[in-house]
């Protein structure tokens, strides 16, 4: 009787089951199986294991995966992203890309005029941008053709509740963190941005060559800054140049609303990942449903996202800031609160005025923030929060920034904050003033997700602003 190495035999049996033996080996194994009951049992057990694995359910890919991949490809290709070579290196694509870049830069110049049309539903195709002045005659068709091929990534299936209608009607605006301590820096930045914009315009007029990737990056950055700046349209600066532009714009929104800082300490790494996913999706949903078609088109063409910065540390912590309405903040908290982990903690602060800890206090504080304020309400002097200073109807040229600074210096407050909240010195005006517009105001919301690496520490002090961070996604 042949002696068999059990390990070798088992390996052969496995391969026999898979039909991977040659003719000679198969014949030998068949002979072994005829004469060796143990070998037959072993084969049966291997077969059972295989059957168990084959019986596992299969999971299809997410329905929007293909769209997301194609969207990424097309977007990076239009921008000439070298990390996605070699498609964009091909001559046909290069020509198209240069034409698109030129048209995209011109789109920036017409955005000011188009921005005033934001409240009206612009259902025009991206071709509408082409109807503006084009420095490249004959390129219009190519641009249109390519522009129509740009596919927005499929929007994630969002569960819209009754509030979604509000968020759809109100585009999210970017705002600079406009605290008094940054005012001087802010003015300097604005001047630089205007200079950068002028440089770009000069380049468009004078330069026959298409932009290189590097200059495109800087152009995109400066274009993004300009678009952001015009969108937020902060009150007067020293030069007065912005104020002039703002007078022509119908969408001046004051940014006196103190920022919100939200810190969520997740239960553990898995909870952190869950919160991060939900937060990212929430912000993507809000952005997707709030953007006007024009904004979307400009984003697609320029690659500039009118969005927020997110940073994920190697440990998986996430810091992100977004401009959200108070209603959106409510909803975001609701998401985290709806599926709570036992050890997930939250801390919320509004400016450096009040802070709350724990879900209950946080919800109470949020409930007191103005959800909506319209000029008529402001004109009637109704207080946003009971006991806090009432909103005041502004004049056309009202300097809101100065208002906030004065309020801050004088420590104007309408009374003690609600019981249970920690009071901070220099209470500022917490209500938001909306001039000439019924658009729901946004405020800067800084969100920080962390997970304890050691036994849960107490939450940190509120009020410290997170600086703008470069998007740097990393695996946990």
């Amino acid at each position: 009787m042949m002696r068999h190495d059990p390990e070798k035999l088992a390996e052969q049996l496995s391969a026999f089951l898979d039909g991977e033996l040659d003719e000679m080996e198969r014949a030998r194994i068949e002979e072994v199986l005829r004469s060796n009951p143990a070998a037959r049992d072993k084969l049966a057990s291997i077969r059972d294991t295989v059957e168990l694995v084959r019986g596992l359910p299969r999971r299809p890919a997410p329905h929007d995966l293909a769209g997301a991949v194609m969207g990424t490809i097309e977007r990076s290709d239009l921008l000439g992203d070298k990390s996605d070579a070699p498609i964009h290196a091909r001559p046909g694509w290069r020509t198209a890309r240069s034409l698109l870049l030129t048209a995209a830069l011109l789109a920036v110049t017409v955005t000011v005029g188009l921005w005033s049309m934001r409240t009206t539903r612009d259902h025009g195709e991206p071709q509408s941008l082409v109807t503006g002045p084009s420095a490249v005659d004959g390129s219009r068709e190519t641009f249109t053709e390519i522009a129509t091929e740009v596919a927005l990534p499929a929007a994630p299936a969002a569960k819209l509740d009754a509030d979604a209608a509000d968020s759809r009607a109100e585009p999210i605006k970017l705002a600079k963190a406009d605290m008094p301590s940054e005012t001087d820096r802010g003015f300097a930045r604005e001047r630089e941005e205007h200079q950068a914009f002028d440089d770009v315009a000069a380049k468009i007029r004078g330069a026959p060559e298409p932009a290189t990737t590097d200059s495109l990056a800087s152009t995109r950055t400066s274009g993004a800054m300009i678009i952001e700046r015009l969108a937020t349209a902060a009150p007067t600066d020293e030069s007065g140049a912005l104020e002039k532009k703002e007078r022509h714009s119908q969408t001046v929104i004051a940014k006196t609303a103190p920022p919100i800082r939200l810190e969520i300490t997740c239960a553990d790494a898995d909870d952190l990942r869950w919160c991060r996913t939900r937060l990212t999706r929430f912000l993507a949903d809000q952005r997707e449903h709030s953007r006007s078609p024009t904004e979307k088109a400009v984003e697609e063409l320029t690659g500039v996202r009118f969005e927020n910065n997110a940073r994920v540390t190697p440990l998986g912590d996430m810091e992100i800031h977004a401009d959200l309405t108070d209603r959106q903040v409510h909803r975001l908290l609701g998401i985290f609160d709806a599926a709570p982990a036992a050890r997930r903690e939250v801390a919320l602060s509004v400016g450096d005025a009040v802070s709350a800890h724990g879900w209950s206090q946080t919800q109470q504080l949020l409930a007191m923030l103005p959800v909506r304020q319209v000029p008529s309400q402001a004109a009637r002097g109704q207080p946003a929060i009971e006991g806090w200073p009432a909103a005041q109807a502004p004049g056309k040229d009202h300097n809101y920034r100065k208002d906030a600074q004065v309020a801050q210096r004088r420590g104007r407050g309408g009374g003690a904050p609600p019981p249970g909240f920690r009071e901070q010195p220099s209470l500022g005006a917490i209500d938001t003033v909306i001039p000439q517009s019924t658009i729901q105001p946004t405020r800067r919301v800084h969100i920080r997700l962390t997970a304890p690496k050691t036994p849960t520490p107490p939450p940190g002090p509120p009020g410290r602003l997170v600086p703008d961070l470069t998007k740097d996604p990393q695996n946990p």
Binding site: D18, R58, I73, N475
Partner: protein, 216 residues
């Protein structure tokens, strides 16, 4: 979440080669067709390796993008499908190595998924199968959970081999191409992987020969 995901590629090799040539010539839309055809299988494999649906989605996306970036270097010596799988499996294995996660499903785990893609508890997965709850269906579901747990517990390399062989139905040559090893290595690796899985199943009480259900 059972779905009809085919175990064989749904396009012929000729058609696949034609699409790949189109992509290499600059036709991005042709690549979209390839994505649609293979995304389910790639995703399922990546998901089985890394176990997290969100990570699997990201990795699958990255695999397709990586494949596109390298499409010019694809010379057709193997099927595109094999080549794509190689990229995807390598990404998944690297990801697992970095994360050093060993998810072991526990029937007692109590987490709220809320449809976000967080790993579901065994109880939720059982409920999610949406079968009427006769005793047999529950028994089968519980068995599946134990198999999933055992699969999660074994080494990633072994898991990859079992997934490619027993779920995706690759032959040894194709598995060798995907994992870039020799066929002889695959033969022994398949055997060792199955042995490890068997050991894990026996350890958790899943009897293979008698299929006796073990109550906790």
């Amino acid at each position: 979440m059972e779905a009809a995901v085919n175990s064989e590629p749904t396009i012929s090799l000729l058609e696949e080669a034609s699409l790949v040539r189109s992509v290499q010539a600059g036709d991005v839309q042709a690549y979209g067709q390839l994505i649609v055809r293979y995304q389910d299988r790639v995703f399922n494999t990546v998901w089985r390796i890394c176990r997290d649906p969100e990570d699997a989605r990201d990795l699958t996306q990255e695999a397709f993008l990586k494949a596109l970036r390298a499409i010019d270097r694809f010379q057709g010596q193997s099927a595109f499908y094999t080549w794509l799988f190689r990229i995807a499996v390598n990404l998944a294995l690297s990801h697992r190595k970095k994360a050093k996660l060993r998810l072991v499903a526990s029937l007692n785990e109590d987490r709220d998924d809320s449809g976000t893609g967080r790993p579901m508890s065994a109880a939720e997965r059982i409920a999610d199968y949406r079968t009427p709850a006769p005793a047999r269906a529950a028994e089968l579901a519980e068995t599946r959970e134990r198999v999933v747990a055992a699969l999660d517990a074994i080494d990633e390399q072994h898991r990859a081999v079992i997934i490619l062989r027993d779920i995706e139905g690759f032959d040894y040559q194709r598995i060798a191409d995907v994992l870039e090893v020799k066929v002889g290595t695959i033969k022994s690796r398949v055997h060792r992987a199955r042995a490890a899985l068997q050991l894990e199943l026996e350890r958790t009480g899943e009897s293979l020969t008698s299929r006796t259900d073990t109550k906790k």
